[in-house]
């Protein structure tokens, strides 16, 4: 099994979710994050002084999947989460050794 970690722009969440559902994915976990990267931040004004906010709001999507679905999922995310503008985000793939469904105790791919 592999874990896909995708960092995306927050407003793309719904589209990504739908694309993944279309691929038969039934579960994922989303975390709020702040991203620092090539996308430059913006300046804010507070009491007459400017400051740069260079951590931008992002969402981190984590989903664990059978290894053979990795390519399709990367492809799907790339397609819908991309705007072509800097800051679209990244996809990382990590190996997962075990998965357990708490409710049933099922393990492995059937736990996903």
């Amino acid at each position: 099994m592999k874990k896909i970690e995708a960092i995306i722009k927050p407003f793309k969440l719904d589209e990504v979710k739908e694309a993944l559902q279309a691929l038969g994915i039934t579960g994922m976990t989303v975390l709020e994050a702040k991203g620092f990267g090539r996308q430059k931040g913006h300046t804010e004004m507070y009491r007459g002084a400017e400051y740069v906010v260079d951590f931008l709001p992002k969402l981190k999507i984590e989903l664990v999947i059978p290894s053979d679905q990795v390519e399709a999922i990367i492809e799907a995310i790339k397609t819908v989460a991309g705007t072509g503008k800097i800051g679209d985000g990244k996809i990382f793939v990590v190996d997962v050794e075990q998965a357990v469904r708490i409710r049933t105790g099922e393990t492995g791919a059937s736990a996903l």
Partner: protein
Amino acid sequence: MSHLRKSLKFLPLLMLASPAVSAQAETVADLAARLEASDAQNAYIFNTLLFLIGGFLVMWMAAGFAMLEAGLVRTKNVSMQCLKNISLYAVAGVMFWLVGYQLMYGITEGGFIGKLAIMQFSEANAADGYSAASDWFFQMVFCATTASIVSGALAERIKFWPFLLFTALLTGLIYPIVGSWEWGTGWLDAKGFSDFAGSTLVHSTGGWAALAGAIILGARAGKYGANGQINPIPGSSMPLATLGVFILWLGWFGFNGASQLAMGTISDVADVSTIFVNTNMAACAGVVVAVLYTQLRYKKIDLTMALNGALAGLVAITAEPLTPSVPVALLVGGLGSLLAMLAVPLLDKFKIDDVVGAIPVHLVAGIFGTLAVAFTNPDVKFMPQLIGVASIGTFVFIVSAIIWFALKKTIGIRVSAEQEHVGLDQGELGVAAYPEFVS
């Protein structure tokens, strides 16, 4: 000149008011004159006090709109909504002094338009029956209310400066002109139109201006799906929205109560009291109807609709809060609320995106309330009410549409898609509502 010394002036002043006290030969006529002056003075003070109390309560409604709207826009637009609300109140004050008041009350009886002039305050004069400054203050806060209505409907996508420009024109020209037709004793008043505290003059005027703006501005990105589906865009804070409605409810006692314009007689102050009761009952009915309606219709209660229901009840009773009995006030408030409930999805059907429900609450319930006067006040006929609603509606909608359109074609009224997406707080303003988050 100072806090305590001033108080020492009281006795001498009283002496002054009764110059003949020490004189031996005071006659009955002297006394009668003194009594009359004393009565006139008391009436003057009471009337002025009513304007001042009513005025500060209505001023407080500006905070109510600010909190309601801050609660119903998304976090990324909250700071901007706060800025718009405090700015529009400021601009309304300046404009109503610069042109508004004279345009509204400098009209000849039965006329169509007042005069373009700066407000000049005359010396205090017993014969006026109230202080001109107190009256101006009370009228000004009404004018500001009109503008507050617009800011909510167009939230989350309109540019700040064009919005403020429109506000200036609304409070300096549009509102005063329609105000002059009725409260200025212009042609509508001559026709027999009646709008006690402004269901139409204030609330519908704001509502029409908002409607024109909402159509020309377009819906927020993502609000309406490609194949007709409606995507709710929940606001940032229900407790702030609730606070806003409580503030507005409180302020409405000033709005309707002080629109009696006098409390120097038993009959006037008793009328103000009746207005308090009816105003409150209409809002109560508005809440009850909204809670029941959303429970039955949607199987779940919708808090934002309950809040809108209270406001719709208040707007509906505003055209005539004095003559109805309590059951009638309940009916007017309840129906106003029900109509607002029905209007919310209707607007969505026409893809008119009204962020806070300003159009259902202020326009729809305002029209209903104004027409209902024909049934709740025996002195009022239906036709004049219809003419009033229609003429003011037509005028405000068309003029607003022209202004919005002109603004759109010149400086533009809508922020860029990018700015809308990141939020106006970042795009236009530069300070987030809760700027602290992480770093």
